[in-house]
Symmetry: C3
Subunit: 338 residues, 3 copies
Amino acid sequence: MFVKNAWYVAGWSHEIGRTPLERWITGDPVVLYRTEGGRAVALEDRCAHRLAPLSMGKLVGDAIQCGYHGMTFDCDGNCVRLPGQAAIPKAAKVRKYPLVERFGWAWIWMGDPARADAAAIPNFFWLDHPEWKPVGGTIYCKSNYFLLIDNLLDLSHETFLHGSTIGNAAVAEAAVETEADDTAVRVRRRMPNCAPPPLFRKARNFAGNIDRSQVIDFSPPCYAVVDARAVPAGTNDIDNGIEWRVINALVPESEGTTHYFWAVSRHFALDNRELDEIMQKGVVHTFGEDIMMTEAQQKRMARPSADPKHVTIKADAAPIAARKIVSRLVQNEASAAA
Amino acid sequence: MFVKNAWYVAGWSHEIGRTPLERWITGDPVVLYRTEGGRAVALEDRCAHRLAPLSMGKLVGDAIQCGYHGMTFDCDGNCVRLPGQAAIPKAAKVRKYPLVERFGWAWIWMGDPARADAAAIPNFFWLDHPEWKPVGGTIYCKSNYFLLIDNLLDLSHETFLHGSTIGNAAVAEAAVETEADDTAVRVRRRMPNCAPPPLFRKARNFAGNIDRSQVIDFSPPCYAVVDARAVPAGTNDIDNGIEWRVINALVPESEGTTHYFWAVSRHFALDNRELDEIMQKGVVHTFGEDIMMTEAQQKRMARPSADPKHVTIKADAAPIAARKIVSRLVQNEASAAA
Amino acid sequence: MFVKNAWYVAGWSHEIGRTPLERWITGDPVVLYRTEGGRAVALEDRCAHRLAPLSMGKLVGDAIQCGYHGMTFDCDGNCVRLPGQAAIPKAAKVRKYPLVERFGWAWIWMGDPARADAAAIPNFFWLDHPEWKPVGGTIYCKSNYFLLIDNLLDLSHETFLHGSTIGNAAVAEAAVETEADDTAVRVRRRMPNCAPPPLFRKARNFAGNIDRSQVIDFSPPCYAVVDARAVPAGTNDIDNGIEWRVINALVPESEGTTHYFWAVSRHFALDNRELDEIMQKGVVHTFGEDIMMTEAQQKRMARPSADPKHVTIKADAAPIAARKIVSRLVQNEASAAA
């Protein structure tokens, strides 16, 4: 079960062009393409006639023609050509999804189009702001999206899973503060006077210890943004420190698979190309470790076995709060539908 | 659910020899082999003792010996040897299926043997008649067999899917006539004065436009024969035209997989070996496109998603009529069994 | 359904070291490792916190630290460290399994630890006795473990499946005697004055025929030991004959997969290295044929099809008796649990 009345990242703007792109989001098949005028379009990727994927067809002007029997749909999803037949039945249409491009991402609304308000798109300005420098990418993950949200809301795992990049002993032992309400969860962690982890040393040539902090913001249905900072210990010298945002969109493809769109945008050394590469490589390595772990959890959950109970610890406060928010949204939608 | 009281193509005669061949038909495992005298035999491919595939065993004279414990069955399916035991239990037998070789194909009857009448085998004489020249082959397809029958009964798809071989714009726009009764469906399509599609130009060096026509005959449970013709436009000059039959046996292996036995037999240029190759290559390419599409449909049907409705159009008249015939046969068999 | 209150082979002692080893037994995930002092340990391979495999973590002294959030368990399965939290909840533990090393194998008890009595481990002394010389290995098999027990309790299959190693015509036709009680099954087969099969000829250079015999002992839940002997026909000259034990542990990983731990230990020519290789190669080849067959049976059982009935023959007496013993044990455990 997924929240439907929500903005999901459907892809990077640069992925969408004049070649139709198939992407499944919250269990539904979507075809993405761009009109001749450059507007990005999202339709149901399933011909109204025989369920063939429209993404296997081709663009004819701004319309998309099914590659099987040629039924053609305009970018509102209405059939505009039905070869061999003049009268077009009313039912000959596919669903059109609201789609908005912002911050370099294309945002899709999977629920009731009447409720799609672009103002509700989260403000991820770091992705394309001139004072910020992002690197980013997409990872395909064979686990439920919420295992990845759990992962991001309990960063104590950095110590154990990411020792070669962003983990140090301080992360796991630091006390965390969790705040949650009906719409968001925030986790704070302060790690004063600790040794800088490897990727931090590569990014900034710290001579000694650092004061490190993290603020992680969850917003439904599937977003986690990490505000990460580090300064030379005992100073507030952010000009010689690190400040970056890790923007994570964990978009469910199906119950067991996720499109993980990510970016890390830094607020320093914007023109340092070498640092771009260091960051890209470091983050891809780090997230690869996360994926390996959530995929192992997913497999373990799928195999039948005796009674696998969890124990809940303090660090779970944020993941539990986030799950509660999303569950409530799903329930509300189910109630409204019934 | 499949029709059982019907003749299915089990394979090409040349596939059946002294090495046992495993083939699943309508969900049942069959082993095919040839006696020393040359008669083709079809038995249940599952030892009566421990369910081992008899096709993993070996022939001993006209009998087949299980490769596990040596239980041996004659070509009527009766156990004739049971190693280590003199008395053979009555239950020690496997099912024998009626099998008839005709037109180069081996035809199997999957239902009540008492009802197997070889006179009911469809008359596909084009496969081995001296005035016709066939090419042919077998394709394994991961889709339900009826998606392939749908495909053949609505050839408007040639325009969109087979542009590089047999498709031209005329096919999709031509009016079709559909006739159906309780036992057969026929579709006719006339395409006067149209440009010859690529494979037609290769087969006959048409100088200008052609008058093209198709008659497609469906007969249950899984056969579609296309009578395809083309002459120089405005003439009836079939001697300089094309006449061929496309014979399609869409034999269900399981609910989701199909053995597609096909032949295209032409009534001209019988001795042209080069044309054999052109036809073989062109048809394999064309049917490969069909398979790609029906497999995509099959996947789309298998994945859970919101409410995938079809819209029905005029071109669906024939596929719908064909499904009705087969559904009725399946229902009749179910009623008779109950 | 598996017997739980029983000793299963978890692996070879030499497999267990300071790198955690994942192994699933009777459907449950187990991690195996060795303490600094050299003791072998078996814990539930699923962190109490988030179900991550502990086998993806690392050893810290005698404890194992989860690779995700660092929860650490001692070799009794109790949590001894919970990063970021001083108080450790009572529920923070994983299951510890009784584990005993004997005969070069590590034996695990999957049921109630209070009932684990090492005296109940079967006496497979041939595996490490100075007067016996074993070869051995592990095979992974995609079939239910009982298909392999069936296989070993009806060796008539040697004739048909293993003609290139241990099969000769005599095996299948020999009369067998089966004895069974509530705890064990024994099958005897005498094959006087028969031709030696290929592997026997390689092992002992028999000039003429042999007197061959087999005694197969099944003991629950999953063990079959074959006492195989051969002497020059008409003699009792075991000093120039063959005597070996085939020790088979068919350990269920899941309902459809099995870890097959095996050894063949001979009582002659102990120092013949060349013979070690001949035996190893011959047995691996032979068991490969068995696996091929049980995997084919397993597939055949999994595919839907009409009414696959077995017929039961004399040779099935032992497999049926063995299944009865195990079924009763499973039922008893289910009754005790209810």
